[in-house]
Amino acid sequence: MNRPGDLAHHTLSVLVENKAGVLARVADLFARRGYNIVSLAVAPTDDQAFSRITIVVDVESAPLEQIVKQLFKLINIVEIQELSAFDAVERELMIATIEASTDTRTQIVELVNIFEGKILAVSPEAITVSLDGAPSKIDDFEALLRDYGIRDLQRTGRIALPKMDRDVPVLRAVSNS
């Protein structure tokens, strides 16, 4: 299974007008052009007029350049940045309910502690945990939990901001102007 750490995956930070239907336009564009979305997170920015969509795309389905250019054709898209793991602070949140008998519960709690996660709920057969952090850390945590049996798992998808000392170029549909 593809995971957000994949080399074919690129993170785009897309500033859009905060208007009804904008997310649908973006999703529709990906669907009709056959581009794959790995994850997508959206919320208003500090300025209520704009939202930021953090979208992890799979460039195996189409070249990143075409994806960016097609996105730019959407009238409500204002700015696009590509955030590489090197240039960006990336975070993701996962919550998961894991099978946990009295035998295995301590092992899971230990894992949660090592990863600095949280325990949200406990029952006789299961335990619900959460972890936030860099996507690769969450990948590792998820892989380790898998051995115990995952009942339910939800990840938020990645959000990202440029590192403060890095000058992340704003992508343009036209490179030479």
């Binding site: 336009r25 730019f72 009238i75 549909a173 036209v174």
Partner: protein
């Protein structure tokens, strides 16, 4: 403005009145439309408006009329229909305008805001349905937003790469009986489009790089597409060609962008392009794509398209650059402005004086023209007409600036091949979507915009049956278009594919000559109608039709049922495997054998 107190007093309008006023402010002269429940409140202020409303007979007609109007006049076409089934009826023209980059504003009625999402009567998710077939669309939620959104709609439709924009307007905000639909009219000075910045002016580096490749090329071809027409760039193109002496092919969307009568015009490339246009591209060492988009109907098998050519791509839409073929030089900008800058650059560099010697290339090209002209066999005594012949006679007997609108099928390809297009904006057709039924409403739209011009629709019998009812519109609204109906009794283009690629197993393509009776049908719609079956009658009837200016005319030309369009590149095939007219097939086979021998000899020499 002088300080009269009258102008200071705010003008209080309801949304419906504001919509009409906004259209007037945008300079709209004609709206093609059809009323109904949700748009009803807007049809009341239309009675007092300073614009013409053309009542169509089907909403698809309104959309294609707006397209035809836009294409012929260069102004955005406007259509207006109600919600639900009317909105879905206009989806086809929107998709058509989207693929052919036609500037168009479509206004749809919508159920009242409070009813949206309740499956109300005649509710459909119009903005959802049309999202992928419009350049942009709007759902207006407040009456006071109408002026700004109409302005933005026209701005988006007509700038950058043009396209259709839809504005969906709920009934309550245009309702004269709703107090909340009233507001103080204000025409916005500024648009609120923070994400919309078309790339109009190209970078000077890209122009320099393009000029450099052009000056160095030995076998260049200008591959001209619809973008030249959209940018009003025909004059700049002519100058570019006179400066560089480079031969030109004009795609189906660009017929007329460069005069067919010019000695450097090679005509149309692509699936039914002529041998010279197709082969010149294949052998070129530089392809200058000017407002063209490497459509599959032009390239055939992409990997085998112009294999030795470097590419300079001019297009205002960045996404077209590298979508199909990676360019060596990419010039992102308006085609007219780009060509003007390029011409300046080339003049500075010493052109036309310092062009390289390309006489060998010119000779090769004119050799192909001589050897493989477009050709067909005239019908024998007693046979029905050849469609090519009908088009040649129409061409020669109609005014030079006649506008031709075509349907989709064999007749479209024959029209593009055999008409001589010497003026821009004289050819209207559905290139990208290939919409049967386009020609009659498009011709009506063009004639509504340019009433002094002769407008001929060249239509097929299949196409005619899709939108013929708009001839009622033409009669009643006194828009005297002329229809040349090439009745071959078949869905001819489909029959051709079945003949060539399905072992002549003809499946569901026969329409028959006699039902419907096209002459009676046309007469019943208020047209003058003729039927021509004999070669000897063709000229006389065309002359009669051209002399009628007060009513639409339909001439049914009974055509040969089994004529095929040649040349032809089978879908997905390489342009090198073009099939020519059967009368030229032996010649071409001999040529290809000689080419192979030469290539083998060179290969053997290289190995020795």
């Amino acid at each position: 403005m002088t300080g009269s107190t009258d102008t200071d007093k705010p003008l209080r309008l309801n949304g419906g009145q504001a919509l009409i006023k906004a259209l007037e402010m945008e300079g709209v002269e004609v709206v093609f439309g059809y009323p109904g429940g949700a748009i009803l409140p807007v049809y009341d202020p239309i009675l007092d408006a300073g614009l013409r409303h053309v009542l169509v007979r089907h909403e698809q007609g309104a959309g294609h009329m707006a397209e035809g109007y836009a294409h012929a006049t260069g102004k955005p076409g406007v259509c207006m229909v109600t919600s639900g089934p009317a909105a879905t009826n206009i989806v086809t023209p929107l998709a058509d305008a989207m693929l052919d980059s036609v500037p168009m504003v479509c206004i749809t009625g919508q159920v009242a805001l409070g009813s949206i999402g309740t499956d109300a009567f005649q509710e459909c998710d119009t903005t959802g349905i049309t999202r992928s077939v419009t350049k942009h669309n709007f759902l207006v939620t407040r009456a006071e937003d109408i002026p700004r959104i109409i302005r933005e709609a026209f701005h988006i439709a007509t700038t950058g790469r043009p396209g259709p924009v839809l504005v969906d307007i709920p009934k309550n905000i245009v309702d004269a009986n709703n107090p909340d639909a009233y507001f103080d009219w204000e025409w916005p000075e500024e648009l609120d489009l923070p994400g919309y910045h078309p790339n109009v002016t190209p970078s000077i580096e890209s122009i320099e790089a393009a000029a450099e490749l052009i000056m160095a090329a030995e076998r260049p071809v200008l591959y001209v597409g619809g973008g030249v027409l959209k940018s009003r760039g025909a004059q700049a193109l002519l100058e570019l060609v006179e400066l560089t002496d480079i031969p030109v092919v004009t795609t189906l969307m660009a017929r007329g962008a460069f005069p067919d009568s010019h000695e450097l015009c090679l005509g149309m490339p692509g699936m039914h392009g002529n041998y010279t246009a197709v082969t010149a591209i294949q052998r070129s060492d530089l392809l200058i794509a000017m407002g063209s988009r490497f459509d599959d109907r032009v390239t055939g098998k992409v990997g085998a398209f112009a294999p030795d050519a470097k590419i300079v791509h001019f297009d205002i839409d960045p996404a077209e650059h590298g979508k199909v073929r990676t360019p060596d030089v990419s010039v992102v900008g308006d085609c007219r402005i780009s060509m003007e800058l390029l011409n300046e650059e080339l003049r500075t560099a010493g052109l036309p004086g310092s062009n390289p010697d390309r006489s060998a290339w010119r000779q090769q090209v004119s050799g192909w023209q001589e050897k493989y002209p477009l050709t067909y066999e005239q019908s024998k005594d007693g046979e029905l007409l050849k469609p090519q012949y009908v088009i040649e006679r129409l061409r020669d007997l109609s005014p030079k600036d006649t506008i031709v609108a075509s349907g989709v099928g064999q007749h479209q390809m024959f029209a593009s091949q055999y008409w001589e297009f010497n003026h821009p904006y004289t050819w209207l057709n559905s290139g990208g979507l290939g919409t049967m039924g386009f020609s009659i409403p498009a011709a009506i739209g063009a004639k509504a915009g340019l009433p002094d011009r002769t407008v001929w629709a060249i239509d097929g019998d299949g196409c005619f049956q899709m939108t013929a009812q708009e001839l009622v519109t033409a009669s009643v609204e006194k828009i005297p278009v002329k229809i040349a109906l090439l009745n071959n009794s078949y869905l001819g283009m489909v029959r051709q594919w079945q003949s060539l690629f399905y072992e002549e197993r003809l499946s569901e393509v026969h329409l028959g000559y006699d039902v419907p009776d096209y002459v009676m049908w046309a007469e019943s719609m208020g047209c003058v109608a003729f039927r021509v079956e004999d070669v000897d009658e063709v000229d006389e009837v065309i002359a009669k039709a051209n002399a009628i200016n007060d009513r639409p005319v339909v001439v049914e030309f009974r055509c040969h049922a089994t004529e095929n369009v040649y040349p032809m590149v089978p879908a997905g095939g390489s342009n090198d495997d073009l099939i020519v007219d059967p009368s030229q097939a032996d010649l071409l086979e001999a040529d290809r054998a000689a080419d192979r021998e030469r290539a083998e000899a060179i290969e053997a020499g290289a190995q020795a």
